[in-house]
């Protein structure tokens, strides 16, 4: 099967960060492959290693995002497609979805996979948007994938349990990181990644093309500022003998919460 995996470059969420004048400042401008997308790449590689086929990755982002494409190529993807944007600012899931959909519309593939969400925006919209724009069957939050003939069998983590859903190809799926542990590229993989092709497409060339719905490539939402989370009040730390602290906390909880009745 032919997989296209959409991958996003995101700032490292573990790097210390603070907010000044409503803007995010990170100590380092280190950017990484979105963890959920790494799982999507891994799963596509595992499936094609087993059933044959190939995995290409698509990324929309600025020039610097090239290094993230290389990371996926080092893992084992065959070709990268870089939809090059001026910058990341002013974009949202809708504007990226329009770019991605416009690009893949003309291409042949069996499975178009996504991460379930981007770690920086935590939106979780793009996959289903693209599916809708291309009118493809889809499912989100996959925790397991399998191939049966020309069907993709998705185990989806739903609200009450796991749903087993069969999708005819071509289809769209968004992946949870619960489905696997993405491989760490080997030296050979890292070295090989430099020789693999990366097609660069200027995002501006895809703009304006109107797809079936009202999406035109414009962002529909606008992030105006950032602020700190209202901190939970620093609590009490109880230290000492197990019996003693258990007694203390049981007493407090029975007095302060309504859950003992």
């Amino acid at each position: 099967m032919k997989f296209f995996v959409c991958i996003k470059q995101v700032p490292d969420v573990y790097a210390p960060l603070q907010i000044r004048d409503g803007e995010i400042h990170q100590d380092s401008d280190r950017q990484v492959l979105n963890a959920y997308d790494a799982s999507a790449v891994e799963e596509a590689l595992v499936l094609t290693e087993k059933h044959g086929g190939r995995v290409d990755v698509i990324l929309a982002g600025p020039e610097k995002a090239h290094e993230t494409i290389r990371k996926a190529l080092a893992m084992g993807a065959e070709e990268g497609i870089h939809l090059q944007t001026e910058s990341t600012s002013g974009q949202d899931s809708a504007s990226y979805a329009h770019l991605l959909a416009t690009f893949v519309k003309e291409k042949e593939f069996d499975v178009l996979s996504f991460g379930k969400q981007a770690q920086d925006t935590d939106s979780g919209l793009t996959g289903a948007m693209v599916a809708q724009l291309l009118d493809l069957p889809y499912t989100t939050n996959a925790v397991g994938l399998a191939i049966e003939g020309d069907h993709l069998i998705v185990t989806r983590q739903g609200d009450i349990g796991q749903e087993i859903i069969a999708l005819p190809t071509p289809c769209v799926v968004t992946c949870s990181n619960d489905m696997n542990d993405p491989r760490i590229p080997t030296l050979k993989g890292i070295m090989g990644s430099k020789r693999k092709p990366v097609e660069v497409v200027q995002a501006s060339s895809l703009h304006g093309t109107s797809l079936a719905s009202g999406f035109t490539g414009e962002a529909l939402t606008h992030t105006t500022s950032f602020e700190s989370m209202p901190a939970r009040k620093a609590g009490e730390k109880l230290q000492g003998e197990a019996d003693e602290i258990a007694r203390q906390v049981a007493k407090i909880l029975s007095e302060k919460t309504g859950v003992f009745s």
Binding site: R30, T186, I190, M191, K194, R195
Partner: protein, 441 residues
Amino acid sequence: MDDRFDCIIVGGGIAGLSAALTLAKADKSFLLIERGEFAGAKNVSGGVLWGQDLAKLVPNYWEEDQAGWERFITHRRLSFMDDQSSLSIDFKSVHLANPPYTGVSVLRSKFDNWLAGKVEEAIAAGTKSMESFIATNILVEEILMEGDTAVGIRAGEEEFHANSIILAEGVNNLLTRQVGLQDKYVPADHMLTGVKEILRFDQKILEDRFQLQGMSGMSNEFVGFATHGVEGGGFLYTNRDTISIGLVLGLKDLREKKKKPYDILEHFKAHPVIADMIRGGESVEYSAHVVSSGDARVIPAKLYKDGVLVCGEAANLLLNAGKAIQGMDYAMRSGILAAETVIIASEKNDFSEQVLCGYQKALDDSYIMKDIRNFQDAVHLLHDPVMYSKVPNLLCDFGRKFFTISNEPSKKASQLMKESIREHSSLWEMAVLGFKGSRAL
């Protein structure tokens, strides 16, 4: 793909990256391998990179927007502390404020990552862009030997070969030992442990508090109370909107005195003089790492053999003679020198000892080995218990008397100094120390 590189560099710290940048500019093919998830991920350092080598490696680095460094040092202070006071030698000068600066504070995870970016740029600009790599998240487990010649590396199942190998693996130099270059047994007693905390401030508050202009910064070293009676010293450096504060402590002394580095750091931070400087800072990171002692006795006698060179702290190149810790600048210069030797070797197509010995010669002729030799007495003096107990105590005692104006007849400074010395030590002890000190520095 032919897998034979001109050089394989083990370690993406300052030494390894400096070597890589030098090789990339000379258009040599190399593979740099770092075990951390990215260059800098595993690196702890208090952080002032001294000297001007950075400007040679990355010309005009100060003009960059998103550069990896924090502040250039224009204000230096060496403080002697007792439990209540500190007496400092303080030097501030605008002559330090012109690029190329002579010291910049850095946060390693950011700096190393930035420097790695420079290496990538240099690779891309050369003709070996398809043959040179930085590989992260990979641990080199073994140096492959053919007889007594190093010929490659093994990482997991993978083996790669090169004409030369530069070991830049840092203080925990397992591979240097494996190839037999760390010939001397290094007892843990010869090592120190460095602990560091990063405290974050509002940038404006930080700049006001330390009187910083633009990107200028200050560095402060501490002797005495800082270490709570344990061999070592303290430091405080300003970054953009954080300060790095920490201690370097003797492992043996810590063990014997049954003290924990973290407790001593808390103790240090509670000192009234320090508490004033760090008030309101939010702790964002705490880390600890082993540091070489700077004792010339643990530096391997030979830093090369057929096919391999050792640089940076892997070779125990470090100096801490009281006025600063110099480990990063040594790592940078030795990395450059090692790479330059590899470049010469590849031109001669001879990677044997006969050519690689040029590295050691270059190192011997550089400020690194000259300083290490010249300041050995200072290193030993600094580890003398007198230096972190009696000396700071008597200096602070003197300071207290000298600066206290009590509407009583004042004594002359020389008289006060004598009194302080008598109280905390003896004239003889201090005379000996003074003599040793002036010779050592």
